[in-house]
């Protein structure tokens, strides 16, 4: 850092400075006083800033007070972080993300909406932690396989004026997290506020252009050193070591620690911590439609892992207990975030502490865990180190989905409707989209019709001119889909997700186990194996259904059963006397028939409990975990790894799965509420 580069902005010229930010029609957003707090809002002049005010924060408390009289009493940034930071500007709580409409011709048009009003924004007063969080958001929302178009468009022309904190709150711990108080990233200009003005440092071309226009004079050396001393004092006031070392390892090793129950007694799962957190990015889609149902808009809305609906799927809820929700938040934030994004999810801003209505302090909770932790394994990479963690992540947890994911939807037309059971229907669709036709067994599509939520549906067969979807009526959207007629149109996003690794089965015995609707995503696997039968050794197909009437693809399976190069076994959970086939759970079929375990590859799909039992039994029979593949069901709102709903451990089920090997999942299948 070259001292000569720094300029001085006298306080009297703050209005000019703000006016220069507004040049070119920019909206200027900065801290203002409102309803007892300092929040980020539109500002026009220096008077809009909370000059003379400061904030004191403690767990569950943010108190506004007057600065003492004196030279510093006109300061406008003499407080630590504002209540809402800059997240509402770059990642608003509600934005339109998709429109789905029935066209006059009867088609279905889906449009991905970027920022509706692309007005440029200048942010005045972003703090180091805010900007570290912005960098995290960039990684999550832009640098992944899929890019959030709204975020990218807001981010593109953002002009950011950072301010280095002259005071630290009792809840601040950016020094521990290595994100502040010095502003090192994300700002075009950095200000340090002194009593009579600001030391200004430009860090980008845009920032340089701004200060050049203002004709500022260089800051005197004593002024510069005063500014440096101020931020150093802030750092010293915070101290380091606010949270234990190796937080990631600590959390992952203590998933069943009794402390989670203790937290759950205090935590009211209000979700405030997640919504004030500058890096939390989970969103849900709220569908808005007119009463005619011909057009709808999906509104991307802040969601939280503390809500019941967050982990809700058709069959139930993965995290019904509040303790599971708190654990999910903390282990993701400080732990698996490293695996997914190569960084901590925490930037040390302390908002989750200050704005917790019951005053839970994550620093205390992590320390308590550390004080009574199980011994941490030495082999895991240390937390805090991006590089080391990333290297470890690459070995064990590298995402294996596609490198880039398109968000667009394409149109497909229903040409045939085949009822399979009382509640399940297969739709034959045609489409001309080459991307869709290139889909692989195990992949899925997001299916859009106006006025309904957009569910993920596995592809149950590929055709040269289209594909099939087998849909069980489990909710309103799927129920609507099962009642479509030939001629109806749909919007499809996909194919998405990691396919079944058929190459892993080549030359080996193949065991395919499908339970209930789980047979649908396995059908393309069976198709592929039949097509290239000689590339596989013995092939066995085990199918479970609730009752004989709930069997899927009955004629097809019967036809397979009479082939002499396949073994097909079907069992049902219960049946009347007219059923002469097998009754019992699917694992009971294995005992007498699987003999060649170590040489077999298994593909398993069904309810999670059934897959767990199947994997256990097949494992006992000798099939290695790295050759057992299964698909996980989690709530998916976007299907492309942006909404966060299907996050599980270090993965997004939609993007890194839904197909995983048992080896990859390890013991996670067994832990309740993960």
């Amino acid at each position: 850092m070259v001292i000569d580069d720094r300029l001085f902005l006298p306080r009297e010229r703050l209005d000019d400075f703000i006016a220069s930010l507004a040049n070119g029609g920019r909206r200027v957003v900065g801290p203002t006083l409102d309803d007892g707090a300092i929040v980020m809002a539109d500002i026009e002049r220096a008077d809009d800033l909370p000059a003379g005010w400061t904030l004191e924060s403690a767990p569950g408390r943010v108190a506004l007070s007057r600065l003492p009289d004196g030279l510093g009493s006109r300061r406008a940034f003499q407080y630590p972080v504002t209540g809402d930071g800059i997240k509402q500007i770059t990642f608003p709580s509600r934005v339109d993300s998709l429109t789905v409409e029935t066209t006059p011709e009867g088609g279905t048009a889906v449009r991905v909406v970027a920022q509706a009003e692309a007005e440029p924004v200048a942010i005045l007063g972003a703090r180091a932690c805010d900007l570290a969080a912005l960098a995290v958001h960039d990684r999550v929302l832009i640098e992944g396989p899929a890019t959030d178009p709204d975020y990218a468009s807001r981010r593109k022309d953002l002009l950011v004026i950072g301010v280095e904190c002259a005071v630290a709150g009792s809840t601040c711990f950016c020094a521990t997290m290595g994100t502040g108080p010095e502003v090192t990233t994300g700002a075009d200009l950095v200000l340090s506020e002194l009593d009579d003005g600001f030391v200004v440092r430009s860090t980008t071309v845009a920032g340089e252009r701004l200060v050049t226009g203002l004709g500022l004079t260089p800051a005197k050396p004593e002024v510069v050193s005063q500014a440096d001393g101020q931020v150093a004092a802030t750092r010293a006031a915070m101290g380091e070591g606010a949270i234990p070392d190796r937080a990631r390892e600590l959390l992952l090793a203590n998933l069943e620690h009794p402390r989670w129950d203790a937290i759950a007694e205090r935590c009211v799962s209000c979700a405030n911590c997640t919504l004030v957190c500058p890096t939390c990015f989970c969103t849900g889609q709220v569908v808005r439609s007119g009463m005619d149902g011909r057009a709808s808009t999906s509104v991307r809305t802040w969601d939280s892992c503390f809500t019941e609906g967050f982990a809700q799927v058709a069959g139930g809820n993965f995290r019904s207990r509040p303790r599971d929700r708190y654990r999910q938040w903390l282990t993701h934030k400080f732990g698996t975030w490293w695996d997914q994004f190569g960084t901590s999810g925490c930037v040390g801003c302390g908002r989750c502490i200050a704005w917790c209505p019951v005053g839970i302090d994550v620093r205390q909770e992590l320390t308590a865990l550390a004080n009574s932790s199980v011994p941490l394994p030495d082999t895991l990479p240390a937390a805090q180190s991006v590089e080391r963690s990333r290297a470890a992540g690459a070995a064990a947890h590298a995402p294996v989905g596609p490198d880039t994911i398109q968000l667009d939807f394409v149109e497909a037309t229903v040409t045939e409707v085949r009822p399979e059971t009382a509640d399940t229907t297969t739709l034959r669709l045609t489409t001309t989209d080459p991307g869709l036709l290139r889909g692989l067994p195990g992949q899925f599509v997001m299916v859009a019709v106006p006025a309904f939520a957009i569910p993920p549906i596995s592809i149950s067969r590929f055709h040269p001119d289209g594909l099939e979807l087998t849909i069980r009526s489990a909710g309103a959207a799927t129920s609507f889909l099962t009642r479509l007629r030939p001629g109806a149109t749909l919007g499809l996003r996909g194919p998405l997700g990691r396919p079944w690794p058929l190459h892993d089965a080549e030359g080996r015995d193949v065991v395919i186990v499908g339970g209930g609707i789980g047979l649908a995503p396995l059908r393309p696997v069976i198709d592929a194996i039949i097509r290239d039968r000689d590339r596989f050794a013995d092939v066995r197909l085990y199918i479970g259904a609730r009752t004989p009437r709930d069997r899927l693809f009955v004629e097809e399976i019967d036809a397979l059963a009479i082939r002499d190069d396949l073994i097909v076994r079907v069992t049902v959970d219960r049946a009347g006397p007219e059923w002469l086939g097998r009754v019992g759970i699917v694992t009971q079929l294995f005992s007498s028939v699987v003999g060649t375990g170590a040489d077999a590859t298994a593909f398993i799909c069904g309810p999670e409990r059934m897959m767990g039992a199947t994997a256990d039994t097949l494992g006992d029979l000798g099939i290695p975990p790295e050759h057992m593949w299964l698909t996980l069901e989690r709530r998916m709102e976007c299907g492309v790894g942006l909404c966060g709903h299907c996050q599980m451990g270090s993965r997004f089920v939609c993007r890194d799965g839904p197909v995983f090997s048992v080896a990859e999942l390890g013991s996670k299948l067994q832990i309740e509420g993960l």
């Binding site: 029935t102 009211v268 019904s320 309103a476 109806a488």
Partner: protein, 319 residues
Amino acid sequence: MDVGVRAAVAIPGHGPAPRRPRIGVVKFASCDGCQLTILDLEDDLLEIAERFEIVEFAEATSRRSSGPFDVLLVEGSISTPEQVVEIARLRAEARRLVVIGACATAGGIQALRTAAEHEAFREAVYPVPAYVDSLATAHPVADYVQVDAELRGCPIDPRQLLELLTSLSVGRRPQLPDQAVCLECKRRGIPCVVVVDGQPCLGPVTRTGCGAICPAFRRGCYGCFGPREAANTAGLVAAFGAARPGVDQLGMSAVDIGRLFAGFTGAAPAFRSVTVSLGGRPPMPLRPTLASPPETLVDGPPAWGPVDASPAHPTESED
């Protein structure tokens, strides 16, 4: 599988256009505010009237029907023996029965009276106890009949009502999330009144849907949408009871905390249990507590009296 009640909309390939759903609106013990919310959907009211056949809505139309209904919206709590019979009859006439508002979903504030108070009250007050027939306490509709959906709130939220009607019209599930008020509060960027002012707020344990109105007006939520799922009332009570440095209003007494929960949805089990354990529900007087008791009974049709100025009238205040 038949889902929802489809309104008259024909989309190619999406099946034939069905008839208009028959909708009814009825009330039991209540303030009429929830059904008024229907009339407050000014921008959509005429379209609603086109998409639905309104066959019963005494507040708005002279046309009457006893059913059958595709959708019946029910306001108010069940408070008299006649109402118990009536709700059972209506249930049989309704394909979908949707209860609207805190009275219908939780009994309303009138449900705070207890059976003992009610009996004592009847015996103490009524010369002829049969004269006024009311149940020991007011009940939510679901105490008597199966309920298909509910709109919470005192009153219900117009956006949620529109969402319900829209979802009925297009045949989807209404999006009525069971989350804390806090989510909406934070989405709106409202500074938390507990944190900023030390005001008690039931937002963390109350279901969202109102749009976080009270915090937006810088006061604590008073729970009119009732308990959310997994409401950790004990955690909140502990936090309100604990005095925090610099936060004057917290460090509340048990009774004051209990009274917070004894509001418009105070009879909902999750809230009632707090009041029962902490106290705070003001006791219902066993005898009338009127500031000025009523005069004696009169009989016969009234007739207009003289309108000329009468010197007999008192014109000056006594105090």
